[in-house]
């Protein structure tokens, strides 16, 4: 029996040439040390395969039409057998892919693996990074709940800031004047056909280049890359020290990727798919659009950067980032690769880390937004302990006039403006009046909104808060 299968395999291999094709890839020599460093790239590839498989499965259940997409999402999330877990795996898989593609890029930068002769490996990788981000964003829109459609509006607005072409780009994104059936079919096509096709092509190129140039050897301080001699040196190095990819190196990649997949399944099982918001309806406005976590840093950036430079920053920022990413291998393609000898490069990496993590943390809290769910501050929480009727009336005004959306008093209210729990000790009644009437900074001017007696009642309440 065994012989029978062996003969079938022998016949197939002879006619198809599987061995000839794959043997060199499987056996290709890799540097013997530091192989744990290299697991991020293969894990990103595993994630992409996971996304393709779960994405195809989801496409069996999803209806890419503006009228039905949301309902099919409800079906997937709440009714279909294993639907929720399928959607969760696709969601956490996307998150994992974004994290891993980021880690892979940072690792490549830290070990300067983009230097000669691997410049094109880096550049094809930058393309893959951009495609991955675009996939994440379009995937979020395909949920087609109110968050999805409003996120499309936000994306169109960002494109609108591009000089000269902004209007056309925004229109192209939405597929027309407004958001409707034409918008969803476009997002669907981008997410399911067009971008994945590019990803397949660029992964093929990226992998081909990995085999062609070989995996970069772990850097060592003082071992410089010289384009004139590197290829020869690398060949000798492999000849002397290399181990075959299979089976000596591959187990690490498999183990790491498996751990990631297990983590994703655990997350999917324990946390489930992210909740859908409300039905997609641009006439329903009581919604607070917020992006998935990997877009939250842009969300935070747009709230926090100086408003005056924003239009310019929205265009120049991403353009400059992409240009820098593309030219990195041309800025220095030779010399030192060790992170220990490239302090400025490492300083840059640390800055990027701090920048990204602080924006993520801020973005998830978004303290700059008015808190529409703020509860009225109860009498028990205001000063003094037994307030007179004016102070109580002032506290009611403080809530009903919307002050509390942004200002906090003793734990009640939003965080966009300063906490006013002890404002009476800080400012005199006159100073408070000036600020309330004239506004300033991020405070609207209430001069024409409040009448004189309401203003006085409010000041009485605030003065008592000390």
């Amino acid at each position: 029996m065994k012989n029978f299968f062996r003969r079938i395999w022998g016949w197939l291999d002879d006619r198809i040439g599987i061995n000839d094709l794959l043997r060199p890839l499987v056996d290709h020599p890799v540097p013997p040390r530091g192989l744990w460093m290299y697991v991020f790239g293969s894990a990103t590839l595993f994630m992409f395969i996971l996304q393709v498989v779960t994405g195809v499965a989801l496409s069996l259940l999803y209806q890419p039409s503006s009228a039905n997409a949301y309902h099919s999402l409800e079906f997937i999330t709440y009714q279909a057998k294993f639907g929720n877990i399928l959607r969760s795996v696709h969601f956490y898989g996307a998150s994992a892919m974004i994290i891993l593609v980021g880690l892979h890029m940072i690792r490549t930068y830290i070990t300067a693996s983009y230097k000669f002769p691997r410049e094109m490996n880096w550049i094809s990788g930058v393309f893959l990074l951009l495609f991955t981000i675009f996939m994440g964003f379009t995937g979020q829109l395909l949920r087609w709940d109110s968050n999805g459609v409003w996120s499309s509006v936000v994306a169109a607005q960002q494109l609108g800031r591009v000089p000269f072409f902004g209007k056309y780009l925004a229109r192209l994104l939405l597929g027309g004047d407004t958001i409707g059936s034409h918008s969803l079919t476009r997002f669907f096509s981008y997410h399911v056909f067009i971008i994945p096709a590019f990803i397949f092509v660029f992964i093929a190129l990226h992998l081909y280049l990995v085999f062609r140039t070989g995996i970069s050897e772990p850097p060592k301080a003082g071992r410089l890359v010289d384009p004139k001699t590197y290829r020869k040196w690398y060949e000798d190095y492999l000849h002397k020290y290399a181990i075959p990819f299979w089976p000596n190196a591959v187990w690490r990649d498999v183990l790491f990727s498996s751990i990631i997949v297990i983590l994703i399944i655990l997350f999917a099982w324990l946390r489930g798919a992210p909740d859908l918001t409300t039905e997609p309806n641009l006439a329903y406005i009581h919604t607070s659009p917020a992006p998935d976590w990997y877009m939250v840093l842009f969300f935070a950036l747009f709230a926090l950067m100086p408003h005056k430079i924003e239009s310019a920053a929205m265009t120049i920022g991403p353009t400059l980032t992409v240009i820098i990413l593309f030219i990195i291998p041309f800025l220095s393609n030779k010399g030192e690769r060790s992170p220990m000898r490239r302090p400025w490069a490492m300083f840059g990496v640390i800055c990027v880390f701090i920048f990204v993590i602080s924006l993520l943390v801020l973005g998830l809290k978004h303290p700059w937004s008015a808190d529409f769910d703020a509860k009225p501050v109860p009498v028990a929480a205001i000063h003094p302990a037994h307030p007179d009727s004016t102070v109580v009336a002032g506290s009611h005004l403080f809530y009903s006039r919307g002050c509390e959306y942004c200002h906090r008093v003793n734990g009640y209210g939003g965080k966009a403006g300063p906490d006013l729990s002890f404002v009476g000790a800080r400012l005199t009644a006159q100073e408070m009046t000036i600020r309330i009437v004239n506004g300033g900074g991020n405070m609207p001017a209430y001069g024409s909104i409040l009448n004189r007696s309401d203003l006085q009642t409010l000041i009485d309440f605030l003065s008592a808060q000390k």
């Binding site: 409003w150 039905e279 919307g402």
Partner: protein, 183 residues
């Protein structure tokens, strides 16, 4: 029995590719070029409808139409209320996404202002807070006064307006594309 040359056809054709025969080469080259050109032209023709599908939104006209959003008596002077209306480009299969909303403010007599609900910062839906007399955006802290001017936060422009008219005591609003802030 005479010996059969089993490679007769191949060798005949190969001779026609003989590099020592420049005249013959030119004819072959010409044929190659012609066939490549035919392929290129047919590919280009095929590409036209595909690219047209991609850029279709830029090729279409922008329709707009007047929509009735209510009667004058439904909107007391000084009030600001949310109205919705069907978009001009709504398709029967667009589901719930056929409508847009606007904040309709009755200024005085026959004077109405219809503000887009979209914040000029990044397009999030602003809410009218009646007691505070402010439009507030939930996304990045944009705030507008009742006349649509910016009160606070990042918005670079005042709230966009739709055209409004009154016909037979009916308030009508002219549909417009989703307002995009252009610099």
């Amino acid at each position: 029995m005479s010996k059969i040359d089993i490679y007769e056809d191949e060798s005949k054709h190969q001779r026609s590719y003989d590099k020592d025969n420049p005249e013959e080469m030119t004819r072959k080259q010409f044929m190659t070029r012609v066939s490549l050109s035919i392929a290129a032209v047919s590919a280009a023709v095929m590409a036209v409808p595909c690219i047209a599908a991609l850029v279709a939104p830029l090729l279409e006209e922008n329709p707009s139409s007047w929509r009735t959003v209510g009667r004058i008596e439904d909107f007391p002077v000084g009030s600001t209320r949310l109205v919705d209306f069907e978009n001009a480009d709504a398709e029967p299969y667009s589901g719930m996404l056929t409508k847009s909303a606007a904040w309709l403010r009755h200024v005085d007599q026959d004077n109405f202002t219809a503000f887009a609900v979209n914040c000029t910062h990044l397009g999030c839906p602003v809410r009218w807070e009646e007691n505070a007399q402010l439009f507030m955006c939930p996304c990045h802290g944009g705030v507008y006064y009742s006349d649509g001017t910016v009160a606070a936060g990042p918005p670079p422009r005042r709230l966009p307006e739709y055209k409004v008219r009154v016909r037979n005591r009916e308030i009508q609003l002219l549909t417009a594309p989703l307002p995009i802030t252009v610099v």
